[in-house]
């Protein structure tokens, strides 16, 4: 066991993947000498060289488009998008090309490309640096979409994503980059990439979350416990595919469910969860599935972002409301 920050765990995971497979490349803006603006690729260019850790021109579509070409030639590019709000120039290449190439070729072409996106708010940043664009990608068939929430998962999930023969969009909770936890870097006996995990067992209500909001949910569960409510928290980890079995097994027991994410509630990932849970757990539900998330507005200026982000009190409020039905 080693104690690592989430950012360092990603760095170690990337290093391990590059050690294990010479075809693994890293591409992005400032990923070389600087080590990325969050230092996730720190030291990798020094150790693996400029041919494998590639500082690219400042063009996101170009980064993903050339990564596709490199994958066609047999490489496994890991692309860093500097911030969530900068992914949009690359969305055409991701949705129209990366996601669909396998079907277009009737299965003859594989594109094992990982697109890493630091996501979410809470770091006091300027506009376009705090967004949660996950549903644009979960809505796109052909992509796998995952979100890590803690250092141990960051370490394993980045390696599992790189090993995937399908393209993976990998969300990193940027305000949790500095969170520390024990990581077992000796084992590869990991939870499957697309399995959800019950991170706090409970009996009265199920709280579903992923990425940066998981930690907030755990804090809310502790607070609720002090008030005598037993909250089960599930870290979905994978958004596409969704581990619906773990979710429904929990909601079947608790009969209540609250979904928490930073992205806007309207047409957000919680809408899909609510619909699926309603279909599968209709007769077990004591209350409608409630959603806590960002408002249906652009991300606000950072001085008031704490009001936009789901916090402990808003989660507890939703938990209370499921008992008031």
């Amino acid at each position: 066991m080693t104690t690592l920050t989430l950012g360092k765990a990603l760095n170690e995971g990337l290093r391990k993947a590059m050690d294990d497979d010479p075809k693994v490349l890293i591409m992005g803006e400032d990923v070389g000498k600087l080590g990325g603006v969050f230092r996730i690729t720190d030291g990798l260019q020094k150790d693996f060289g400029e041919e494998r850790v590639i500082d690219t021109p400042l063009a996101e579509s170009g980064i993903v488009g050339t990564a596709i070409g490199l994958a066609l030639r047999g490489y496994r590019p890991v692309v860093e998008i500097q911030f969530d709000g900068f992914v949009f120039p690359a969305v055409d290449q991701i949705i129209t090309q990366l996601a669909k190439m396998r079907m277009r070729s009737l299965g003859k072409v594989e594109l094992p490309v990982v697109v890493r996106i630091p996501c979410g708010g809470g770091i006091g940043a300027v506009e376009h640096h705090s967004e949660s664009p996950e549903v644009y990608f979960t809505h796109t068939a052909g992509l796998r979409v995952v979100a890590c929430s803690n250092p141990a998962d960051a370490y394993s999930m980045i390696q599992q994503s790189i090993a995937s023969p399908d393209p993976v969009v990998f969300f990193e909770p940027k305000r949790r980059y500095w969170d520390k936890a024990d990581v077992d870097t000796e084992t590869a006996d990991w939870t499957p990439l697309h399995a959800a995990r019950v991170v706090r067992p409970g009996d009265d209500v199920t709280v579903l979350s992923y990425g940066p909001a998981v930690k907030t949910c755990l804090e809310a569960a502790v607070a609720a416990g002090e008030e005598g409510r037993s909250v089960e928290v599930i870290d979905l980890r994978s958004l596409n595919p969704l581990d619906i079995e773990t979710v429904t097994a929990s909601v079947h027991r608790t009969g209540r469910c609250v979904v928490v994410h930073e992205a806007a509630v309207f047409s957000g990932y919680g809408a899909e969860l609510a619909a699926r849970i309603t279909e599968r757990c209709f007769y077990r539900l004591e209350a409608p599935v409630l959603r806590v998330g960002g408002f249906s507005t652009p991300y606000p200026p950072s001085r008031i972002e704490d009001h936009y982000l789901p916090d402990l009190d808003r989660i507890l409020d939703a938990v209370d409301r499921t008992f008031g039905w």
């Binding site: 488009g65 070409g69 030639r73 129209t96 079907m103 070729s105 003859k108 594989e110 052909g142």
Partner: protein
Amino acid sequence: MTIDSVRGAPGDPGPAEPELVQLLTPEGQRVEHPDYPLELGADEVRALYRDLVTVRRIDLEAVALTRQGELGIWASLLGQEAAQIGSGRALGEHDMVFPTYREHGVAWCRDVDPLNLLGLFRGVNHGGWDPAKYGFHLYTIVIGSQTLHATGYAMGIQRDGVLGTPSAGATIAYFGDGATSQGDVNESFVFASVFNAPIVFFCQNNQWAISEPLEKQTRIPLYRRAQGYGFPGVRVDGNDVFACLAVTRKALEAARTGQGPTFIEAYTYRMGAHTTTDDPTRYRLKAEEEAWKLKDPIERVKAYLVRGDLADSAFFEEVEADAKAMARELRAACLALPDPEPLSIFENVYAEPHPLMTEEQEQFAAYLASFEEASR
């Protein structure tokens, strides 16, 4: 030089008579160019002629099949045969092609079965051939996207460390004049340039992007743009199969030996509609088409063969007959293409099992089966 001497005039895409590399005049006269010496035996010229006639015939058949409702749509290559055959026959076995949806002639040169192309436009699949097997990537419908894939692939060739060796390949990215306005194409120029990637950018300037003429895309001749990115640009007579062959050969060889990208502007003309759903009479003059007919890419090779006594009438008749027979077979094979099974919708979306694919496929299968039960 003043700013005004650099700035193109509004609506003026360049000199009326372009500075282009030409080795065979529209009248079939062989001319020399100091930078592009080309030695071709009679057999080779006859083979090029056969290619040109064959791909035009395939194209004609596909247009007819569309008119008869057998294809959903077709993008005709009429008028661009020399650009495609000339560049296509310059390719070596290790080279990799990244085409648009109009590169039927290049596909022919890479031995892709024309039936595969028809299958895409008939709607039985989205392409489906194996790019690695043919050195010919899937058709890309969205304008310009493939230039980045070609550049990335070229960066992969660099990383394989094969440049300058006999197993070196280059990539060639095909695109049109309209595509030169796309961000992806410009980004591919930047990436290719700064990484000195082994790539040839082959732009078929056919003067029209559906209804938009060249002056909607550029104020300067397209080949001159290359200079701004830092690699050579050359304008070639796109209706001259010899010149397209020689210019592409040289550019590919430069790429394979580590000299970096070249931009080729093949100056040609889209004689037909953009696709079978288009109507050029709404936006261009008949006189323009008539003028380009005089520069036909096939007639000039025929004139050259006849003038040099390199082929007799029996040869020309045989080529016509072979092309016609091939078209007949292609038509029959196209009509016999089976529709895919409805449940195949869920196949090849992911490499590894995906629960949602499984769930929806099972639900849909049960739904379909319910009709069979009802009809029993």
